[in-house]
């Protein structure tokens, strides 16, 4: 079975908040659900499938279906960290293709900014996590985990801090046009290099923001999508691939995107050269470089050269990316960037991105997520969508 053409993204909504001190996490889920339904022109009664991940409070769909007052016949709480929502879109398409539901709602929300989260804090290790005793004592946090990937990438391929900085520079060029973005100031390579080192070799401006907020998408059966008044965005390919330490056979510079991307391209029947716009998970600048290589947009090891000199800037570069400003400048709701990657790709395919960053003739787009940590274990998810 393929999901190609079996489902459409009928609604998409990104919460405008970046600091939600006066809202609960569940409330944010409800607000984004409402926003996505309004965007699609559907009502709550139309939803018969619900998807959420670890950011959903309580027992995932059990708590949220009750809180939202949904009546669904299919749920999925696949948890792959920040890439969960790309997986959810693919799984929703599978469920629709299998006749398990017609209209699926996927929600994400979180308020790590209000709760004081940062990328230099230890994560919350559960007592039964098998890797915990071999990692927690060493002080691995988000920032130094990704930093080790950057350090190794530099060693193996000669990637430079200046090349990493170009990823941030491109994101900032896009964010200046996004009124909701946390960081709207255009920055230069030198400004990135002059920002303090957080974890060698990553500077502060190599790191994404911490923000509250959320987002939701509605995935619908083709007949339903065609009955709506919105531009149609068809799901044509998807792939997912967890990757870890392989029992100690470490290969830190290759991400799961090598496999998830290959699967998605094969299913979609397109090549990297066919992609007009990419949303690439940008927890850190290095994350983007590794994923672009693994997806095949350039040769392995050439990612630094590929992103340099504005190649990711819409209107000037060959591969416009994260035209909302991405996690590096716009937002990173719930410390999970997968949902906003889907949403900006949908905007681009609909022709509804900001006019200053809208890619002309954007007919095929790719969204790529990396959940967990590139430096230990992560799950890649790739989604390819087409304007109909």
């Amino acid at each position: 079975m393929t999901i190609k053409g079996k489902a459409y993204i009928a609604g998409a909504y990104e919460h405008p908040t970046r600091k939600a001190e006066d809202k609960s996490v569940a409330q944010l889920h409800a607000e984004v659900a409402k926003g996505a339904l309004d965007d699609a022109g559907l009502t709550k009664q139309d939803i018969d499938g619900y998807f959420c991940a670890g950011d959903a409070p309580g027992l995932g769909p059990l708590s949220m279906v009750d809180y939202l007052g949904l009546k669904v016949r299919h749920v999925d709480s696949t948890e792959t960290g920040g890439s969960s929502y790309l997986v959810h879109v693919a799984h929703a398409a599978e469920a629709i293709a299998a006749g398990k539901c017609n209209v699926a709602l996927v929600t994400l929300a979180g308020r790590p900014r209000s709760e004081g989260s940062s990328g230099t804090q230890p994560r919350n290790w559960g007592t039964a996590v098998p890797d915990g005793p071999f990692e927690a004592p060493y002080g691995i946090v988000t920032a130094n985990s990704y930093a080790m990937v950057a350090m190794r990438h530099m060693h193996q391929y000669g990637t430079t801090s200046g090349q990493l900085a170009w990823v941030k520079v491109a994101a900032s060029h896009h964010a200046q046009h996004n009124p909701h973005a946390m960081l709207r100031e255009v920055v230069t390579v030198q400004e990135v290099l002059d920002s303090p080192v957080i974890a060698d070799p990553l500077h502060r401006l190599d790191c994404c923001v911490v923000s509250d907020g959320g987002g939701a998408v509605i995935v619908a059966r083709p007949e339903i999508a065609r009955s709506l008044k919105r531009p149609r965005v068809k799901v044509i390919g998807a792939g997912e691939s967890p990757k870890g330490q392989s029992g100690g056979r470490l290969d830190l510079t290759v991400s799961g995107a090598a496999r998830s991307g290959a699967s998605a391209f094969e299913e979609a029947g397109v090549k990297p050269a066919d992609i007009k716009y990419v949303s690439i998970y940008d927890s850190f600048t290095i994350t983007v470089i590794v994923q672009l290589e693994d997806l095949g947009f350039c040769r392995k090891g050439d990612g630094g050269k590929f992103v340099a000199d504005g190649n990711l800037i819409s209107g000037t570069g060959k591969l416009p990316f994260n035209t909302d400003g991405g996690g590096l400048c716009n937002n990173h709701p719930g410390n999970r960037g997968g949902m906003t990657k889907v949403i900006e790709a949908v905007r681009q395919l609909r022709g509804e991105a900001h006019p200053k960053v809208q890619v002309s003739n954007c007919d095929v787009a790719l969204a790529q997520g990396t959940g967990g940590q590139l430096g230990t274990r992560h799950a890649s998810a790739t989604l390819i969508m087409e304007r109909e």
């Binding site: 230099t120 004592p137 985990s145 060693h155 303090p196």
Partner: protein
């Protein structure tokens, strides 16, 4: 510029039935790695069932305690004391997450030869870390 290594409070590893021999050995100053008698491969972190071939014929072996730095990063912000997180590839061939200690952290390099040392944790068994050989 130099960033001399400083001791810091280390969270104790959560010891369970599966990993207890590793930490019991660490308390004796020994680094253990898991070896699979079925496929002849080492793995880390240690499991009861081999993650390579899925055999249950895994056994503890004492490692030589020497290795090479695969990658590293000094966390400098948001923490009271800068420290060097690293992966070290043991001479047995498997890489383990660890810290580089007892040296100038600014002089740490990929490819550097290192030797195991054990550092106390806060209320738990000591854990293996590495210093330049």
């Amino acid at each position: 510029m130099a960033t001399p290594y400083q001791d810091r409070k280390l969270p104790a590893p959560l010891v369970n039935a599966e990993n207890k021999p590793f930490f019991d050995a660490a308390a004796q100053g020994k680094l253990l790695v898991k070896f699979c008698a079925a496929c002849g491969e080492y793995h880390h972190y240690p499991r009861a069932i081999c993650p390579h071939c899925f055999s249950d014929r895994t056994e503890w072996r004492e490692a030589q305690g020497t290795g090479t730095i695969y990658t590293w990063s000094v966390l400098r912000r948001g923490v009271p004391v800068a420290y060097c997180l690293a992966y070290v590839t043991l001479d047995e061939g498997v890489s383990m997450l660890t810290n580089i200690v007892d040296c100038d952290l600014d002089a740490v390099r990929i490819g550097q030869k290192v030797r195991v040392v054990f550092k106390p944790t806060d209320g738990g068994p000591p854990v293996p870390m590495f210093s330049p050989a």
